[in-house]
Point group: C2
Chain length 191, copies 2
């Protein structure tokens, strides 16, 4: 997605430890026009997937998922909750997510009321790095008996294992900006 | 806002401890059509406030703020980050928020890059209970030298102190659904 790549090149920040920050337009401050272009592009990529629900994970996924929902005839959005405390909600679907950035194990939860065996789920998130968050969301869909019909990420770094990991599980993965290299001088290459 | 009150009456859940859950359409699963009606109503209430930025707090505020932004000519949204660990980001504006529901002290943070003395800020959030989150966001605007031009909340319970607390500080507070009483049998009254 050219518009997004240009924006990442212009306003993305590369921090030590191979971290790409897109805080100025997506993950802390949000440019809602760009957000809607992202939502529209996810619809373009997944318009034939048959989803009746979008699943994402707090916090940054929420804006992306609600924007996309408008292009999918306002199908409901469910956002998984993330907590460091285990077993918080009773009777929720739960999965573990290891955050490599923070070196913390999160418990990811979705209430049983909002996901079930009749659901065809499009999973959307901001970053696909090691695939931990995406994997936890797929796990939760499996527990619910829901069918995952697509997995979309705004950004991934192609040299990290997440995209391949999820594709190898048999899922249809689409990424809007695929970063193939970054260096500390600020240069970013896209695939 | 009649549409919202009807929805709260129909799908809101009252839990022991005077807790109103609106997880099925706003705080866990999101009805994006209703969300956009909420965004539009905030614009109706604050259209003359002169805001050039919307400030909210993760997680549930994000969908509300990005929806509202569309009706305010796509002004940027900034969402404050909430952490139990203190002093996470260097050089961020910080304020404390005590959560009465969870009995935890949060540190609320906004990067200095995204809020400054030229900003006229509309603060939006989902719940106004004791006013702790709203107060923390106002505190952060004060630190940034930004002007708070309005404070909007989707729901408040009028018998809790938050609304009065923020109004007494001199701010223009608007609430879309004002709950005046709830009882364990499920009945809810609006003011």
């Amino acid at each position: 997605m050219r518009l997004l790549e240009e924006r990442i090149r212009k306003d993305g920040k590369i921090l030590p430890g191979d971290i790409l920050k897109i805080d100025s337009f997506l993950n802390h401050q949000i440019d809602v026009k760009l957000l809607d272009s992202i939502g529209e592009e996810f619809h373009e990529q997944f318009k034939n997937c048959g989803a009746n629900k979008i699943l994402t994970i707090e916090s940054s996924g929420i804006a992306i998922a609600t924007s996309a929902s408008r292009y999918f005839s306002f199908i409901p959005v469910v956002f998984a909750k993330k907590t460091v405390a285990a077993n918080m909600a009773k009777g929720a679907y739960e999965a573990k997510e290891h955050s490599y950035t923070r070196n913390i194990e999160y418990t990811v939860q979705v209430s049983r009321e909002y996901l079930g065996e009749n659901d065809k789920v499009l999973i959307l998130d901001d970053f696909l790095a090691n695939g931990e968050a995406m994997h936890a969301l797929i796990d939760i869909c499996d527990q619910a008996g829901a069918k995952v019909v697509g997995c979309g990420s705004v950004v991934c770094k192609t040299y990290q294992p997440g995209e391949k990991r999820i594709k190898d599980m048999g899922y249809d993965v689409k990424v809007l900006a695929r970063v193939s290299s970054m260096s500390d001088d600020g240069s970013i290459e896209f695939e």
